[in-house]
């Protein structure tokens, strides 16, 4: 399996534990609450549940897919379709800090490709690895600390180029700023 191989290559701990077994009563209560927002069709809770799961566990493993499907009276393929469609979701662990560099027009023209390359170099990743998502985690450092990926517009075109580091927006990034930004993170 490509995915397992990748995990090994990145030196990440292979997930032997099944996420579904680590669910807490609070987590389940939150799930019920989320589903209650969609009285007409439970299916509409698919995306909220995926977000909830990924926020809680870091990614969604197959037990998660199957649990969510069963919870919403769907089949697992219905959930896997969504999970592989949206680049935000992943079926494997990403780095502790995810650096998301915007590559949409304004940022691209303001040099975000250079910025992203510098981020990769600063954390020790090959900047030329293509990443499409489809459920896989973005390129991640062997120590599991950083992931770097391109994202589409972060709605901050006025201060391009921008990046989302963890949950923080960083604006007007010059390639030369990057080493210092990364150093602060370490």
């Amino acid at each position: 399996m490509r995915r397992e191989e990748k995990q090994r290559n990145h030196g990440m701990t292979e997930m032997k534990t099944r996420q579904v077994e680590q669910m807490t009563p609070e987590f389940e209560a939150d799930v019920e609450e989320l589903i209650s927002h969609y009285p007409v069709s439970k299916r509409s809770a698919s995306l909220p549940l995926l977000h909830h799961w990924q926020n809680h566990f870091g990614f969604v493993d197959d037990t998660g897919i199957e649990w969510i499907a069963a919870k919403l009276d769907l089949t697992p393929i219905n959930i896997l379709e969504l999970l592989t469609f949206y680049p935000w979701f992943r079926r494997e662990a990403a780095g502790k800090t995810i650096i998301r560099v915007c590559r949409t027009l304004a940022c691209a023209m303001a040099g975000s490709y250079d910025v992203k390359e510098k981020f990769c170099e600063a954390v020790g990743l090959d900047p030329h690895v293509e990443h499409h998502g489809f459920g896989s985690a973005p390129p991640t450092t062997p120590d599991g600390k950083f992931s770097v990926e391109f994202v589409e517009c972060l709605a901050c075109c006025g201060s391009a180029p921008v990046a989302l580091i963890g949950d923080d927006l960083v604006e007007n990034i010059k390639p030369s700023d990057v080493p210092a930004i990364v150093k602060n993170l370490k």
Binding site: D62, L74, T75, P76, I77, N78, L80, E81, T84, F85, P87, H132, G133, F134, G135
Partner: protein, 538 residues
């Protein structure tokens, strides 16, 4: 229009005003008007997701005055204001005063553009594709494509030869993402295992890891796949489809009598596909039934008549004369006839005549109760139980007959199209019979003990009619010739009856049917040709 359940709406199709029931899909209204709209994702029996974009047409809506009344033209019809953008006709419902242009420079350009998009990542491996010859992508490329590629980039690579089910292989590169198979599995087969993974030009049809596309209806996805993405393992690489001869017939695996097309070439049946009949099977059929034809060409086929004690080859005349001679003058209570509800109405009618000629009361068919699936697999494993009942041959006397044979009270047995072993008769009992006449097309446990073996035709090798569990009279048609010296069942029975009771003037299957109809009130006035391809509800 009060009192009618359906409201009709006026729609202008290519300049002509017509009426259609409200709620009908626009593509159906166009097709009903004789305008062909190319389409991939639309299927009359499935929902409209509108994702292939091939059925784009120009749409006009009635012009409205400020007080929301339609502006009427000189002809009293609404004046239309045409939308500058095309719409998909599969997901648009007809409404009052709507207008549609199915052919215009804009529509032509749209089709051309959609074709170009669909072909961007298509591998164009038509020479080795099973779908070639009946592929919509191929057909529409000819009709609506540009004929050349402007693509310089590498095509996206996707999984090939994916074993997604017991009977199906998937080629993801050929898939054009119409989602017909996904919707079929959701809406008809009720086994939601297929889905699209990933996004954009990387979109890939897949089953959930660990799951399989192995529903008993899975092969219908191969039929409705407009390209060669889903192919049948059974038919894969066996035959180019343009060499196949198509014969309309019905399935005989169970009492449903699904309408089928038998595809054959040079006397070999290559595949069976469902034929649309909304009164019976819609557009579908179970895998177990459509693959149930390979025995037609098995080594167990009976090809020559045989008479115990005579060296083969035995002439038909000798075989029939031997059977007749040994049956003649036998006492009715020592004789029994076991027929089959897999026989046609015409054959069963002649069985009844044979029984009458022999004067026997010991007649019955072998019932085949089974567990149906509530859809197209019937609770009755016989295709013509209703026919046997109509002719009074389903007497329920079989256990009694079997007992009489075991006890040695019945010493002469005629088995037609069945295996006596399935009827509760032991091989020891068969061996000790004075006379055993076996007619059938496959060797079974009965034939080795038969005094006379009469090789007959299988369902793909003959014409005739059957009545399904719902009382629908339907026709079988002949796709191939029976092997060797095997003959049509009705001819064998006719000749045997003629030897026992004199000639009866039956020279064709049509004549037999006419006699059946004449003697059966339920079939009054019918002829074999009048049954038609879709059958008649009795």
């Amino acid at each position: 229009m009060s009192g009618t359940a359906v409201t009709m709406v006026n729609v202008q199709v290519d300049g002509e005003w017509k009426q259609f029931p409200k709620g009908m899909r626009l593509i159906e209204a166009c097709m009903q008007s004789g305008k062909f709209i190319p389409h991939y994702c639309y299927h009359p029996k499935l929902s409209s997701p509108g994702n292939c974009r091939m059925c784009l047409v120009e749409l006009g809506m009635p012009k409205m005055t400020p007080d929301r009344k339609s502006v009427l033209g000189e002809d009293g019809r609404p004046e239309l204001s045409w939308s500058p953008r095309p719409v998909i006709s599969c997901a648009t419902e007809v409404s009052e005063g709507m207008g549609v242009r199915t052919s215009s420079p804009l529509v032509e350009e749209c089709r051309n553009g959609v074709m170009e998009f669909l072909l961007i990542n298509h591998p164009l491996d038509c020479p080795i594709c099973d779908k070639a010859g009946e592929c919509r992508l191929q057909e529409f490329s000819v009709e609506f494509g540009k004929g050349e590629s402007r693509l310089l980039e590498e095509k996206v690579k996707k999984p090939k030869r994916v074993d997604i089910g017991e009977r199906i292989v998937l080629d993801d590169e050929r898939c054009i993402m119409c989602s017909r198979c996904i919707r079929f599995m959701q809406e008809i087969a009720k086994d939601d295992v297929l889905g699209f993974l990933n996004r954009g030009s990387h979109t890939t049809l897949a089953v959930y890891p660990g799951k399989r596309l192995d529903s008993n209806y899975s092969l219908n996805t191969v039929d409705i796949c407009p390209v060669g993405a889903l192919t049948s393992k059974d038919f894969r690489f066996k035959m180019r489809v343009w060499f196949l001869k198509e014969t309309k017939s019905i399935d005989v695996t169970c009492g449903t009598g699904s309408n089928i097309v038998i595809s054959s070439r040079e006397n070999i049946v290559r595949r069976i596909t469902p034929r649309e009949n909304d009164a019976v099977n819609s557009c579908w059929m179970p895998d177990s039934h459509r693959l149930n034809f390979h025995y037609l060409h098995s080594d167990d086929r009976l090809k020559e008549p045989a008479v115990r004690g005579l060296e083969s080859p035995v002439a038909w005349k000798t075989a029939l004369a031997t059977a007749a001679e040994k049956l003649r003058g036998s006492r009715p209570e020592e004789t029994a006839v076991i027929a089959s509800a897999r026989m046609t109405l015409e054959e069963l009618f002649l069985v009844r005549r044979l029984a009458a000629a022999l004067g026997v009361r010991n007649v019955d068919i072998l019932p085949r109760p089974q567990k149906g699936d509530g859809f197209l697999v019937s609770d009755d494993g016989n295709p013509n139980t209703s026919g046997a009942k109509l002719l009074g041959l389903a007497t329920g006397r079989l256990p009694e007959i079997a007992q009489a044979i075991e006890a040695g009270r019945v010493t002469k047995l005629v088995v037609l199209g069945e295996d006596a072993a399935d009827c509760g008769i032991s091989e020891t009992a068969l061996k000790s019979l004075d006379l055993l006449v076996a007619m059938g097309f496959l060797a079974n446990k009965t034939t080795p003990h038969a005094t006379v073996v009469l090789p007959s035709s299988a369902w793909a090798e003959k014409r005739g009619s059957m009545i399904n569990v719902k009382g629908r009279l339907q026709r079988l048609n002949q796709a191939i010739q029976p092997p060797g010296q095997a003959r049509d069942d009705w001819e064998i029975l006719r000749d045997l009856i003629a030897l026992l009771a004199g000639t009866n003037g039956l020279h064709s299957i049509e004549e037999v049917f006419r006699q059946v109809a004449a003697e059966t009130p339920a079939l009054q006035g019918l002829t074999l040709s009048r049954i038609g391809d879709l059958g008649i509800q009795l």
